[in-house]
Subunit: 204 residues, 2 copies
DNA sequence: CAGAAGTTCTAGCGGTGCTAGCGACAGAAG
DNA sequence: CTTCTGTCGCTAGCACCGCTAGAACTTCTG
């Protein structure tokens, strides 16, 4: 233990670490599954412990608290959204902006619990300064790339924030059944039309 | 009791009803104050009962449960937002759309707990069909009126939904510190510019 | 094998939303 | 004035929550 570590010891240490990492992953996965199946209200530390077949205190040896677990699920979700946005390439005649918007809204519609953890529940994820998770930067970066072709002379970052805010607003209000479903298509058309070729290019 | 009620009885009945209505109002007010002072997490039935100086079960003789109390606060909040929007008249050179947007965002910024109850927490308020509270219709109506001058040939209701969604997205993402504060002004300018005089009027 | 080190579990704390059932009190009847 | 009756608010308690101290078990070391 002191100087040269013996062979078996290191190997066992490695196995332990691997098993621990695997269990860490298992907890996050179980939390996500439980939330997606029954909503975040159903994700209690007891039920989660049951699902991973350990006792509650084990959760606290991996995460500081329940919030940290939700945060881990949220960050993983950001990675997935980023991946979806990256893979979504427009077919001919489709604008990149539209494909991004549809992908984003489909994600929010099909994974409402995941979306909630990412963008609705306040989670103390350090957005502003400091350690912003890479997954988040990736997702936002994809939105920036989708907005870029229509930016004209407008501030790219601010325009992306507007785009994102609009999508986020639609996503959450739709989820809360606060918008008319029959206007879904028209609504998106109007948003894309407004953001795209605008009168900001040059004004005589 | 049976047929002709005696005079005194009716009067007492009235007093009782008045007192009961007053207490009802008091509970809603206390819940709103507590939420605005310390957030909705601090609004527990015990603390609320303490604040109104009754025991917990009294709350349940007025409301079906805690959710119903939050809902009552939310509906009251909608009324207040509607009133603010109605009173907000543009000074010269200011578009009605801009005034509405600024009023809406200021409300969300200054009354975050109230805004949360209204539009973020899911609350089973019947938005779609059925008994939509008048306060809600009023608030949405004010947004429609603000959008109307810039509608062009676009679907008024859908365009209002887009406007509202964008404001809602900005409001919630700002509250969660997920947007850059230094872009606040630019962001709103971009949104209003995009929604206003668009290229949709007529296309050659 | 005994002891040390590390890990997991049992049990419990103070809190939550909510409710059963008791006791006090006001109005009606005699 | 007494007695009955029905309403009303309270005490006390349930099942659950997030979280943790300390016992109990396993595993490695000498």
């Amino acid at each position: 233990m002191s100087s040269g570590a013996r062979f078996g010891s290191v190997s066992i240490q490695n196995r332990r670490e691997r098993e621990r990492a695997e269990r860490h992953r298992l907890i996050i996965e179980a939390a996500r599954e439980l939330a997606e199946a029954e909503g975040w209200d159903a994700v209690t530390t007891r039920r989660l412990a049951d699902k991973v077949e350990y006792s509650q205190p084990v959760l606290y040896s991996h995460f500081k608290g329940k919030d940290a677990i939700v945060r881990a699920v949220a960050i993983e979700g950001c990675g997935e959204l980023a991946r979806l946005l990256r893979q979504a390439r427009p077919s001919r005649g489709e604008s990149r902006l539209r494909v991004a918007a549809e992908t984003y809204l489909r994600f929010a519609r099909e994974r409402p619990a995941l979306y909630d953890a990412m963008f609705v529940q306040q989670s103390d994820i350090p957005w502003g300064t400091g350690e912003v998770p890479q997954e988040l930067l990736d997702a936002f970066g994809e939105l920036v790339a989708a907005v870029e072709p229509v930016r004209g002379e407008r501030d790219l970052e601010a325009l992306t924030e507007v785009f994102w805010s609009s999508l986020h607003g639609i996503a959450t209000l739709v989820q809360g059944k606060r918008l008319r479903p029959e206007l879904d298509e028209t609504r998106l058309d109007l948003l894309l039309g407004a953001l795209s070729l605008a009168q900001h290019e040059e004004r005589p």
